[in-house]
Symmetry: C2
Subunit: 208 residues, 2 copies
């Protein structure tokens, strides 16, 4: 549908905008370097937003494929998203250790960690109920609405965590010039708006 | 139901926590004073989260009342929420003008203003479609699912805007001690978690 096309356009713009921000204003991305922190936002936007969002859309996009195939793709994309998000989490913890910054003090880190841990849990529950042969048909039926509600809620929480991370990064780096509408601030705000728009469109498609 | 009871408990805790934060650490609330800014978070949490959330629950809580009455209550509570939110918005703009701080530069202000303006629009559309006698039954039926999707999405965006506001306030006021887990930081983070929990419970009730 047109909405799916718009979501993919927004999703790609999201990645490009994140790359442009980190590349043009934050010195780029590298492991084992002072730039290791920048791996964090890149992986989180790619994993917890873009790939998670596309995994959610699988059943809607491939309506006419076999359920076996769409289910495998849904689970695989979420698994890939989890792996990339894990790399992003390791990057920020290593970068904090290198710089001697305490862990888990901020509202962003609380919301982000909650989103990540619950996302991992949701993935395990999804595999347990829908993939393992043990779960009965009626058990699957009772779990399914919970799976869908918490899936959409976690997607929203992931986007909220990204918005908080963007705000923190701007206030850490360009505190004094942010209120003068410098290009980096406007670009990062735009990234935030794109994240919200991507969430809205994916949510709209899922609830039609 | 038990979920509605939990939502109201969370909602009241939300208001108490906001009051405790502003009262114990931010000097309290007053108009025409350097404390005018503090009217902003108080009104936004009360209007855009607590009252909006309770307005959304009206049709679920009063299942057995006449539709005329629940509809009026739903519209009135949203109207009250809008008025209180307007006071909160005026407070922050006046406080910015007094202190010479530029307007609308932050991601928080962009998301917050979008949430407020779209909330006002949703209210006008709700009145237009569901209250005025002009709209036909089929028109109401076609608008209703859009009204529900955008209503829930705006509620989520309002909560996200509050989380961003909390993060900004902490980084403006306790930038250096935030990472040392000072009580104000932990209290404000807890307020953020309570906002997310309130949103989750209200969302869960609405989608059952
Ligand atoms: C769902 C996505 C995200 C998750 C799950 C997440 C998770 C986390 C976690 C758990 C920490 C704490 C690390 C520590 O205490 O050592 C953290 C820190 C941080 N993150 Fe994220 N993050 C996400 C997205 C982002 C994005 C998109 C940005 C920036 C654009 C960002 C910026 C930061 C910053 C600046 C810190 C260091 C300050 C702090 O601890 O709050 N995060 N993140
Ligand atoms: C990792 C986190 C996961 C999240 C956030 C998530 C989220 C969602 C969402 C939002 C839906 C509704 C999709 C729609 O209505 O089109 C859904 C459906 C579903 N998911 Fe997941 N999911 C996750 C993992 C898994 C896993 C690992 C499996 C195992 C195969 C799985 C199996 C299913 C099934 C069977 C459905 C129902 C499709 C249908 O019959 O309409 N999910 N999931
Ligand atoms: C849905 C709820 C909220 C909305 C709609 C909202 C809206 C706004 C708007 C439009 C501005 C810009 C004012 C200007 O440019 O002159 C602003 C500023 C601000 N708000 Fe909020 N706000 C909300 C909740 C909160 C909360 C809960 C807090 C704090 C706990 C907060 C803290 C701030 C701060 C610190 C500013 C000044 C810095 C800035 O312009 O970003 N806001 N808010
Ligand atoms: C101001 C913002 C508003 C928001 C965010 C909002 C949101 C919502 C939501 C989320 C629902 C679904 C409730 C449920 O499923 O139990 C709903 C239902 C409804 N709202 Fe609103 N609403 C707003 C204003 C209005 C106004 C002004 C009216 C005019 C009377 C109105 C009339 C209705 C009606 C008739 C329903 C359908 C109830 C039903 O038949 O189940 N809304 N609204
Ligand atoms: O005025 C109304 O319109 C909707 C619905 O009847 C339209 O199909 C509804 O619930 C009302 O109270």
């Amino acid at each position: 549908s047109a909405y799916v096309a718009v979501s993919q356009l927004l999703g790609l713009t999201l990645l490009v905008t994140t790359g442009a921000w980190l590349g043009c204003y934050r010195g780029g991305v590298a492991w084992h370097s002072p730039l290791q922190f920048n791996v964090h936002p890149l992986c989180m936007v790619l994993g917890m937003v873009f790939l998670q969002g596309d995994a959610l859309l699988v059943y809607r996009v491939f309506r006419n494929e076999a359920k076996r195939s769409t289910k495998a793709l849904h689970a695989l994309l979420h698994g890939l998203a989890l792996l990339i998000a894990l790399v992003g989490i390791i990057a920020v913890f290593e970068s904090h250790r290198t710089k001697g910054i305490p862990d888990m003090y901020s509202l962003h880190s609380w919301c982000g960690m909650a989103a990540f841990v619950l996302y991992l849990l949701q993935w395990l529950l999804g595999c347990g109920f829908f993939l393992l042969p043990g779960a009965s048909f009626s058990l699957r039926g009772r779990y399914k609405p919970q799976h869908i509600f918490f899936g959409i809620a976690l997607f929203a929480l992931s986007i909220a965590a990204c918005l908080l991370g963007i705000t923190e990064m701007l206030l850490f780096n360009i505190r004094d010039s942010y209120s003068r509408f410098v290009p980096e601030g406007v670009l990062a705000n735009t990234l935030g708006v794109l994240l919200v728009a991507f969430g809205l469109v994916v949510g709209y498609v899922l609830t039609r």
